[in-house]
Symmetry: C2
Subunit: 293 residues, 2 copies
DNA sequence: CAGCCACGCCTTGTATACAAAAATCAGGCG
DNA sequence: CGCCTGATTTTTGTATACAAGGCGTGGCTG
């Protein structure tokens, strides 16, 4: 009964999702793991517009230099870490210590924590209760689930995408596919991986369904992680002309054909994974010892 | 300023860890919004009793008494808020002030913040940059997206579920359906809504795909929110025998039939939504003034 | 010589303090 | 009489301080 009325102007539905741009290369090089040494991480100031020395001896000196919020900065950091993981610059199992990130990005642990949590909810990092954050190492069943989900969702989206396809979008997609192929040929694995994920994400975005697009985005990120663990070095993910063929079919409005192509495409990626069984401890040890940086 | 640790913080902390079981039943109902007035409402003389025992309740039980962290406590709070939203005890647009939650759950703002962020990532609450958290009011396009996603995923999962269906699972699902019908008949809307969501979630869980199950869970939560805004009062969501028929088909292993049933079921729910347009300000005013609720 | 225990450091978890910004309320002026 | 402007208050954003837990190391003992 004491239900008071709302202030009536509460329709600001700003949804922070699907920000699919903003991919500038940034300082993502010095946040890798460190074999339990005492020495401070390589504190390269790099290119930060933040006039602060990493000595952290300034308790509250700078207050005015900030823009209205630190939200965009957090977003940039999030994207930096996320990209680094997706591009395999941070390998699965790599620890992400909070103060290391603090001193890399010049944001206090509070902000780092927030970002880490977000990454954890997207399954890109794993938060072990007292041990901190590390890049998740997907299990085999997770890998299976992720690819099954992609089959279901991405294939199911193709007819929709075919309806919404425009010449501009097709051109953009083809450019992405060609970029990816070029990166692959040039041996730039990181770039190729990211471009492949970006292609799939963009495709899902063209369906017009923001929710499913976000889900696909997440699935692609996790796929990249899966590739990092189970991927074979040779045919890196999406091969040759698959993406081009896909775009062609979509451009012609052949949704069903596109669905079939996507099905085979994903199947192919999944088949390229080396399902080496690592249930025993020996491979685990091998991986751990072989992976010290 | 090396301020010494107050006994307040000390007892608060121990209290948070020790009394895990005491007040999570009553803690869900008093976190509603408040007409932004000053003084009177917030001037509660903190009537909640602090049943803290400074006598070091369990300092030695490192595995049994308090598990690793307050993580489970956070989880409990998360579920409390989440359930309250899903059950429409917290309506869309309701503000979730941080210190209100703090004083309800006896956890400091840090923890509340973490939980709020998690809820925000699941789209159950909206975090407006300087205005805090509020239960999200789904837009019409969001509603469309969510239901399209459910169509795609839940229907696509049916064959899988039919394969994995066991007699036990079928029995459990039928019990849930019957409970839901009973709650509906008894007029307990909250319970019915939650049970309906639980049914769909359980169904998705039976597919064996954890990723997709989690996604469906999220979609169901959002659906509940959508129902709160656009739902008609009468035929509340899932009607009568739909769920039973679904389970029957699944039990018989008829995946395709189940898919069709699910398709119609979701279609029906979506069709029952009233898409009242509220673009202008006039309807807004009308709704607010006419809505003594 | 090997196993066990204790100590200590390192890292995270949590709370609190401080500051900025937004919204509301009050008052004055057009 | 309404609108605008100024101040207050509330509320979030951010950083820091403190406490606790785990892990490694080193010393002791059987």
């Amino acid at each position: 009964m004491p239900r008071s009325q709302e202030p009536l102007s509460r329709q600001s539905q700003e949804h922070a999702q699907a920000s699919l741009h903003k991919e500038q290369a940034q300082s993502r090089d010095s946040a890798n793991e460190r074999p339990r040494g005492r020495g401070p991480a390589s504190g390269q100031p790099h290119s930060h517009p933040h006039p602060q020395e990493p000595g952290s001896a300034v308790p509250r000196a700078r207050r005015a230099g900030k823009n209205g919020d630190g939200a965009d900065r957090h977003d940039a950091i999030y994207h930096a870490i996320s990209d680094a993981i997706i591009e395999h610059q941070l390998r699965p199992g790599a620890r992400l210590r909070e103060d290391a990130l603090t001193e890399v990005f010049h944001v206090s642990r509070t902000g780092i924590r927030k970002i880490l949590q977000r990454l954890a909810l997207e399954q890109l990092v794993t938060l072990t209760p007292r041990r901190g954050a590390s890049v998740t190492r997907p299990t085999e069943s997770e890998a299976r689930d992720v690819f099954a989900a992609r089959q279901l969702v991405e294939c199911g989206l193709m007819p929709e995408v075919a309806d919404y396809m425009t010449a501009d979008a097709a051109r953009e997609l083809k450019r992405m596919a060609s970029d990816e192929r070029e990166a692959l040929r040039a041996g730039e694995h990181s770039r190729a991986i990211k471009l492949s994920a970006a292609f799939h994400e963009r495709l899902a975005g063209l369906s017009g369904n923001a929710t499913l697009a976000a889900f696909v985005r997440q699935l692609c990120s996790r796929s990249s992680l899966i590739l990092a663990v189970y991927g074979t070095t040779g045919p890196l993910g999406c091969e040759a002309h698959d993406h081009d063929d896909l775009v062609d079919a979509l451009e012609r409005g052949e949704g069903n054909h596109a669905r079939t192509l996507m099905h085979h495409h994903l199947k192919e990626i999944e088949a390229s994974l080396s399902v080496v069984e690592e249930t025993a401890s020996a491979p685990d040890l091998h991986q751990i010892f072989g992976m010290v940086r």
